[in-house]
Symmetry: C2
Subunit: 462 residues, 2 copies
């Protein structure tokens, strides 16, 4: 029996212990967005720190301007080859609306689902469950072999759900300490319940708020209608112009830096036979929106978007109020692809708005998020090691996929630490991430642990 087999057998014999530790972490309501949970965020950091100390790491809770960061180190065996940086986050999204949960969000509930047992809780998968997959793998390596098979640094932050706003500063201040050969992140999905995946593309994100002001107070639409500028009408005119009927974004120059997909990439994705009809059918839709001339996975993974995520202004109550409001507001975000500069897109969006502003309207644009799209070389030895580990656990090859969402930390790690990220995640599309009744399938959790046990061995060797 090889060491890795012994570690896997040990992990298999300890499933209930792994679950109990995961549940402990899920019970801490570490909601980073809500000030009343600041102490809970710290408790979660301390819990992670104690776990790492318990398995031989030198670990500390480190302060930032916001919620603390946990940093831990293990030297691995003397002379061990690769140096791995594991990244995760202990903070979670707010659980609201609470009334839509079938069980309390911070009391993990083991229930049955189509793929067997699942755990329902806020953070079940994002990212407490996924973080626990590699923490448990490190634990079982410690139990069997006294420590991981190579040098490991751990970074677990507490502000991912609020834009990792203090992480860049922390990375810059501690770049020397956090240097490694590759970063490993489990915060993405598998292809399907039976098929593992490595994400080699992540879209970037520009998230803005547009505030338009006109009159200096709310006006009566009878007295002023026909004379006064209505900022909601104006806002709808501007945002209504963002895309044409075929889904193309009409900001001048928006596509200038968007690369065409390589024929090889396109062929690989075509071979996945993605069933967009089923994907949309699951949420009550039947026909794709977005750029109609593009393929479904291309639209989701390799094309930029322009979505209005929120809009408000004027009277929003029951019945009627005949007001011409003074202000109108919208949250507008763009998913970006590798090659697009968020700053250039922002400038283009600003120009697009300003070109449509009449004399009496003022606009201000706030930026809440700005991250580049990332593409990881699919032919690196790290990806090769991960493919081997995943194939061994799942009994079938991993899919190399894109990720339509954004992981700003990936571009921060690339930019500040000059590290590529290996994105190996075990989530599923139906995990209700950020929604009520977030869940993580138990099988995904346990295969995630086994995958990281094997991945550690593969990367240590390779």
């Amino acid at each position: 029996m090889t060491t890795v087999d012994t570690v896997l057998a040990h992990a298999a014999a300890r499933r209930e212990d792994s679950r109990a530790r995961w549940f402990e972490l899920l019970r801490i309501p570490s909601v980073s967005a809500q000030p009343q949970h600041a102490q809970d965020c710290r408790r979660a950091a301390e819990w992670v720190c104690a776990e790492l100390r318990g398995i031989g790491f030198t670990a500390n809770v480190r302060e930032t301007k916001g919620h603390p960061v946990v940093v831990a180190h293990h030297p691995g065996p003397t002379g061990g080859g690769r140096h791995l940086l594991f990244y995760g986050h202990y903070d979670v999204q707010p659980p609201e609306p609470i009334e839509l949960w079938t069980s309390p969000p911070f009391e993990p509930a083991l229930t049955d689902g189509p793929n067997g047992p699942r755990v329902v809780a806020r953070g079940a998968v994002d990212d407490k469950g996924q973080t626990m997959t590699w923490l448990e793998a490190l634990r079982f390596w410690h139990d069997v072999a006294g420590g991981p098979p190579c040098r490991v640094t751990v970074l677990v932050e507490g502000e991912e759900e609020i834009g990792s706003r203090n992480l860049a500063e922390f990375l810059e201040a501690n770049a020397e300490e956090l240097r490694a050969d590759v970063a490993i992140i489990s915060d993405t999905n598998m292809w399907d319940p039976a098929t593992p995946a490595i994400s080699t593309r992540v879209r970037g994100l520009l998230y803005t708020q547009v505030d338009i002001r006109a009159a200096n107070k709310d006006l009566h639409s009878g007295l002023f209608g026909g004379s006064a500028l209505n900022p909601i009408n104006l806002l709808t005119r501007i945002l209504g112009d963002l895309k044409d009927e075929a889904g193309e974004i009409l900001i001048p120059g928006f596509y200038d830096e968007v690369p065409e997909l390589s024929p090889a990439q396109r062929a690989q994705w075509d071979a996945l036979n993605f069933d967009e009809k089923a994907f949309l059918g699951g949420v009550g839709l039947s026909v794709p929106a977005g750029e109609l001339v593009r393929g479904p996975l291309e639209r989701l993974w390799a094309r930029p978007t322009a979505d209005v995520n929120g809009i408000w202004g004027g009277y929003m109550g029951e019945g009627s109020k005949t007001v011409i409001p003074a202000e109108a507001h919208a949250k507008v975000s763009f998913r970006l692809v590798p090659g697009q500069s968020p700053a250039k897109v922002l400038a283009g969006f600003r120009d697009f708005i300003v070109a449509r502003l009449p004399e009496d309207a003022q606009v201000s644009i706030q930026v809440f998020s700005m991250s580049e799209g990332i593409e990881v070389p699919a032919d690196s030895p790290h990806v090769a090691a991960a493919r081997g580990a995943l194939a061994a656990v799942f009994g079938r090859p991993a899919v190399l996929m894109g990720c339509g969402g954004s992981l700003p930390v990936v571009s921060q790690i690339k930019e500040i630490l000059d590290l590529d990220c290996l994105l190996v995640g075990f989530g599923l599309e139906d995990d209700q991430v950020h929604s009520p009744n977030e869940k993580f399938d138990l099988a995904c959790f346990e295969r995630g642990i086994d995958s990281h046990v094997r991945l550690l061995a593969a990367l240590a060797e390779g």
Copy 2:
């Protein structure tokens, strides 16, 4: 000294008593929209009823499905000529936002303003203050002459601010009892603080709520962006199409029934030398919106509008949330001119929306208000009588103006009781109607009383 001079002298000697009675009514928080004020609405009705009984009317508080209506009758002198119907409303708008008031909304405060003393309170002008102008005139006629100089019926409702939703039914059920020769309403404005006005045109109103639904739940814009329909983007596209850059409304057929202004009317309004720059300047605007090819008063009084009065959907909180929401909503209203059918405009708006709906979007349209524009013959004997009365009080001729707002009761009275309305109001543009710090200038209130004293005499004679 004629009787009317004696009544005027009596009124002039009783200014403080008039004010005290007005303040009593203002202290009753009769907010029709708020269920917790239902008893206050009834108290206001009872207060008005008691006032009318005190000056010789047969008066009763009458039930409706909502807040009660006060109906009162006075036979006038035996064999008296005209029969007048006075209409007013005792309900007021909600005072919110309370924090913007400089004094408690239901504690009338006498303060100084550019035109002398003014009274600040919710309902100061709309419509308690205006209703009191004719109630006080009737009182002084009673004090001096034992009653009004002609037959008078009074109708004071309590649901005007919530769309007079039970009034039509009440008018229909009591049409015989409420029959008269002309209806008199004080719920409109003067031309300026020194110049009285009679409103001969009132715009109609179609007020709708548009609800658009797409997916069966909120989606993550990273996972679904580029594939899933975004109902906010769609709503902005639809509403952004409503008007072109020159302010013309683009619903097919929208202008089919909009009559051109007669040259005489246009000439009369041109002669008013309306200063739109000052009008807009007062609210922080500098250039007119609306149909640029039309004159300013024409746009305000004789042209229809399309305003989005409210819009909401998706994430409206602090910071960012990358959601593609399931729903988006807007309040959309149209001011209509005499000749336009609200039902036809509604049908056109519905078609306009449906033509822009992709397969996966559902729309529902709620209608909260539907009233026709009204034009009152400017050459009627009633208008002539009012011009004479106003000129005598103000020392200058009354302006015949339009009203950009909507008084659904005017079309109900026309349709159900077959009565023209004489709209003689004493409000000013800066009265903050429906806003915090609503006020009524004391001079307007007192000249309103005197005008109604004279108007009663003039209409009784004519």
